[in-house]
Amino acid sequence: MSKSPSASEQGLAGSPRDRWGWLPEWARPLERERRGLGSLRLAETTILILLAIFLAVASVNDIVQQTHVNHRLSADLLTWRTLTGHDYVNLDTEQDVKTHSTRDTVCGNVSPGAPGERAQVCLMLAGAVVKGVRSVSGGYYLPPYRADLRANRYGCFGLAAEQALCALGSPPAGSSPSPSLTLGRP
């Protein structure tokens, strides 16, 4: 049961003097909304509530996924520290954003120094987290202050060697030697 609009609700729009008078009534501008739009408002509110629930579910799902990723990254760091015997804080972790696998790469200095100041040893980690660590599938080395690009890598072992991820056959001048590290879980 909607009331018909009063003159004030229609403003000048309903008046014949109005410059919008040539428009059909349903298309004329109004100064205030007509009463009786409860059903439209109800529909809008229902859509908004459903949208809010949907966005909330998506957000919570994302947090849960992120906590799983964080759990995995913590295991990556622990694996690197266990295998290398260095308890360094500043390690670089890179996730596989190309194929969206759970294979991560963690790089850190081979000897104490500021991040990237020394040669880096990088480990490729894969598989499930078991007892807080993951399995090492391969790795390689980087000279100091060099980006993690194929052109800069040397000393590939395991999966990195199989996939030919290193362009350099031997350590460049001034870089550390590149012993292969143990594959599997440390």
Binding site: R34, Q66, H68, H100
Partner: protein
């Protein structure tokens, strides 16, 4: 009788509760600022030591402490919102001012954007390099370069020419001087927006105290917006200026020259907002649909011609080409955006070009619906707020300060749904930050 007694009981608790909430708000802000002043934190960008005098008290700000402080702040903010009608005006103003000043004296929080602003200004003024053509890596020898976020060093400015011109006078002050200048600009823009929000709420017979608290105590406004000295606050200042002028013209008893002038200024203010950040243009169609007069369009047109001419003289054609900057930014994808969260929900790794098209189509439908509703008498301020909120929600690149665009408008809207929606979106954004609290990486 029982109801009255219960009501009296609640009222007697109000000062104590308001005191507790106020203390939590101040303590959380101080915690973030004092710990942030120590530096060496992933949450604090590398910065000149502008707040080192505060560093003796705090400890290095980690995710855990920051997120706990942010959640406590957000809870206290909701509490103080519920009590807003019962606390004194003086209390509300003092609390808002205290929070803003604490953040102002502290370090830059969360974002490196302010250093990009300074870099673009120094490119133009000190190095005579067009910031619309080159990224900050063109001035890699400049002292500000080391502070620019590594993702942005190759990116030319996406900000409007008016903002770039406003930043130019700060460039010769050196990095520290320019940084304080940017922080002061943000503080003044925030204060101006709050003053206009108060004024507009009174003009609309809404509670100005509530509107002030909604915006001025809001965690994302204070910690992220003001904390990062973001230019979004300058955009909201222009937008609220346009709203205040339009409301004043609506209230004028008879059509006169003053009313037309106010409407022209309102149109010019919207254009000013647009030339700070392009999303500001969202307000214009709703002012035009509401006023159904040429004056706002004329004001916007004259301002556009004048500012475009100045921008063309200073920056060349690239400074005027806001559309290409907008298109470039629209292609960015960030992990905090809702479209990415929805993609993850459906097992997709992220958004694809087709998703961008769908999002744009959805946004157009929303805006058309709101324009039609405004034409038929719906509150134009609410429609503008919905539009700005819809832009943020459908964007694949959502940052905390994008949720501030709609906030002052929502605070003075006649349709309370848009205020609840804006606060809900902000709440989800904050909740989405909490993963490091649930599963820290160490």
């Amino acid at each position: 009788m029982d109801d009255t007694r219960a009501h009296r009981g609640t009222r007697s608790w109000t000062p104590a509760l308001a005191g507790v909430f106020t203390l939590v708000l101040l303590a959380a802000t101080l915690e973030i600022v004092l710990d942030g002043a120590v530096g060496h934190s992933p949450l604090i960008p590398k910065s000149p030591g502008i707040a080192s005098w505060l560093s003796a008290v705090g400890e290095r700000l980690g995710y855990r402490v920051f997120l706990i402080a942010l959640l406590c702040y957000s809870g206290a903010f909701l509490g103080i919102l519920l009590l807003a009608r019962r606390i004194s005006t003086r209390w509300a103003i003092a609390l808002t001012a205290a929070l803003q000043l604490i953040v102002f004296v502290g370090p830059v929080l969360i974002s490196t954007d302010v250093f990009s602003y300074i870099a673009y200004a120094r490119m133009g003024v000190v190095h005579s390099i067009d910031p619309y053509l080159h990224g900050p890596n063109a001035i890699s020898g400049d002292p500000v370069y080391r502070y620019v976020g590594k993702d942005w060093v190759k990116v030319a400015t996406a900000y409007g020419p008016l903002y770039t011109l406003l930043s130019y006078p700060l460039a010769p002050l050196g990095v520290v001087g320019a940084l304080w200048g940017m922080k002061l600009e943000a503080l003044l823009a925030s204060a101006g927006t709050l003053a206009l929000t108060w004024r507009c709420a009174r003009m609309r017979n809404l509670d100005p105290k509530l509107a002030l608290i909604v915006v001025g105590v809001n965690p994302l406004w204070v910690i992220y917006g003001l904390g990062g000295a973001h230019n979004d606050l300058i955009m909201t200042l222009f937008l609220m200026g346009a709203v205040a002028l339009t409301l004043a013209s609506e209230m004028a008893p008879t059509p006169d020259l003053g009313r037309a002038r106010r409407e022209m200024y309102a149109g010019a203010a919207v254009l000013g907002a647009t030339l700070i950040k392009a999303t500001g243009i969202a307000l214009l169609p709703f002012i035009l649909l509401r006023r159904r007069r040429l004056a706002p369009l004329l004001g916007a047109g004259l301002a556009a011609v004048l500012l475009a001419l100045i921008a063309y003289i200073v920056f060349g054609v690239h400074g005027v080409d806001i559309v290409s900057a907008l298109n470039r930014d629209a292609a960015f994808v960030g992990t905090d955006s809702f479209p990415v969260e929805i993609a993850h929900l459906f097992g997709k790794p992220g958004v694809f070009p087709v998703d961008h098209d769908l999002l744009k189509a959805g946004l157009v439908l929303i805006v058309v619906h709101l324009m039609w509703r405004t034409w038929r008498g719906y509150d134009w301020v609410a429609a503008s707020a919905w539009t700005l909120l819809a832009i943020a929600v459908t964007s694949t690149w959502l940052l905390a300060w994008y949720t501030l665009w709609s906030l002052p408008l929502a605070a003075i809207s006649r349709d309370r749904r848009v205020l609840y929606a804006t606060l809900a979106v902000q709440g989800l954004f904050i909740v989405h930050q909490t993963a490091p609290l649930l599963a820290p990486v160490s």
